[in-house]
Symmetry: C2
DNA sequence: ATTAACATACCAAACGGTCGGTATAAAAAT
DNA sequence: ATTTTTATACCGACCGTTTGGTATGTTAAT
């Protein structure tokens, strides 16, 4: 039954979002799934292979398709980018809202870093993603300079990194503290601040 | 013997920087320390209380005393700030260089997030730190505007956040990918990019 | 009659932690 | 000066529990 497998996958993701890999026990996975050990090992080889599969899915959820955004206007590009991220994170929060733990926030990162520590391949994939992201931003920044949308003696790579890095920062602060403010709004403010000072 | 206690603390920190809390076993701690279980429990109440103590020390290592930096020039302020962070991180890397695992990078974050997940107080302390940091940056930005060092219609808080957030981003990317580049240099480039576009 | 989909009972290993004990040395009593 | 007491530092066998995983079912579908 493919649905049973999916059910186990989803249930386990919930658990891994609440505590570290080792803190989630097989008993918990099995109990929360409403299944038995036998059922679990019918579908999965081991606890670790389950975790790997979950983490790879989780990572691919975070992939951004930059081609969907307008490449000819930096302002439009980042606006659409923010909207997209906003939508994604809202979906995610909604998806796990019934877990209702604030800890979800913290463990969002925890699961990523634990995966990175456990599977070196994961780190490599992240690096590749990052380089793809950077490339996209550089292209858009270059276009914006050419079209005269922005003017700055700062080189394109550094401007692109300005946008990329502040993304990390905003997300991190949001996850850690800013339960109040909405993430997209925080990021938009940040991007606007960068943009304002580049605009011609 | 106070030295024995310190020895356990140091040895355990190394271990916790290499894998997650649960992945580090009492046996490992005791073996690596060259001591016995009995000795350990003579000095510490439990594994968890040891972890808490380590993590609190680790956190306090990251505290920045902003009053040491020049408050009257944004350029000077961030230059000194970068130098300071650079020095701190170099010390840290040196301190644990003999562990010689690349994993150290990843687990630098892991230990923080695991602490946050395990001890809510830890998260609160981080939030307080953040608010103090932000305040300092806002003051300096305000001064720089008043003195005419920079000119921007962006409000002070948003400019301050620009600096603070990109710090997170640079650090995160450094930890994850940029084994090559030196951290201070990356951050300085980022700050220069922000500054260039604010300068009058 | 097979196979897939589960359940149950069980296992060895590993876990954090305890406990009775020893060696050494400082402090107190004689 | 010598003996007795007390405290510290440390050891390692052992304990109960929990761990991920397995062997052997039973039930339901094809």
């Amino acid at each position: 039954m493919i649905e049973t497998r999916e059910h186990i996958l989803n249930t386990s993701l919930m658990l891994f979002l609440q505590k570290s890999y080792k803190d989630v026990t097989m008993k918990e996975i099995v109990d929360k799934s409403g299944l038995s050990k036998g059922a679990f090992y019918h579908y999965f080889e081991s606890k670790e292979s389950l975790f790997r599969e979950i983490v790879l899915r989780f990572l691919s959820m975070g992939k951004v398709d930059y081609e969907k955004f307008d490449q000819n206007s930096l302002k439009l590009f980042y606006s659409q980018y923010v909207d997209y991220l906003q939508k994604s994170i809202n979906e995610l929060i909604l998806m796990f809202s019934f877990t209702a733990e604030e800890k979800f926030n913290v463990n969002f990162f925890l699961i990523m870093f634990e995966a990175a520590a456990r599977f070196p391949e994961f780190l490599k994939m992240e690096l590749e993603n990052y380089q793809k992201d950077l490339k996209s931003w550089i292209t858009v920044v270059a276009n914006a300079k050419k079209s005269g949308e922005i003017r700055s003696k700062t080189n394109n790579i550094d401007i692109a990194k300005l946008f990329l890095y502040s993304n990390d920062g905003v997300f991190m602060r949001f996850i850690n503290n800013d339960k109040s403010g909405n993430y997209g709004e925080l990021l938009r403010r940040n991007y606007n601040a960068i943009y304002e000072n580049l605009k011609t």
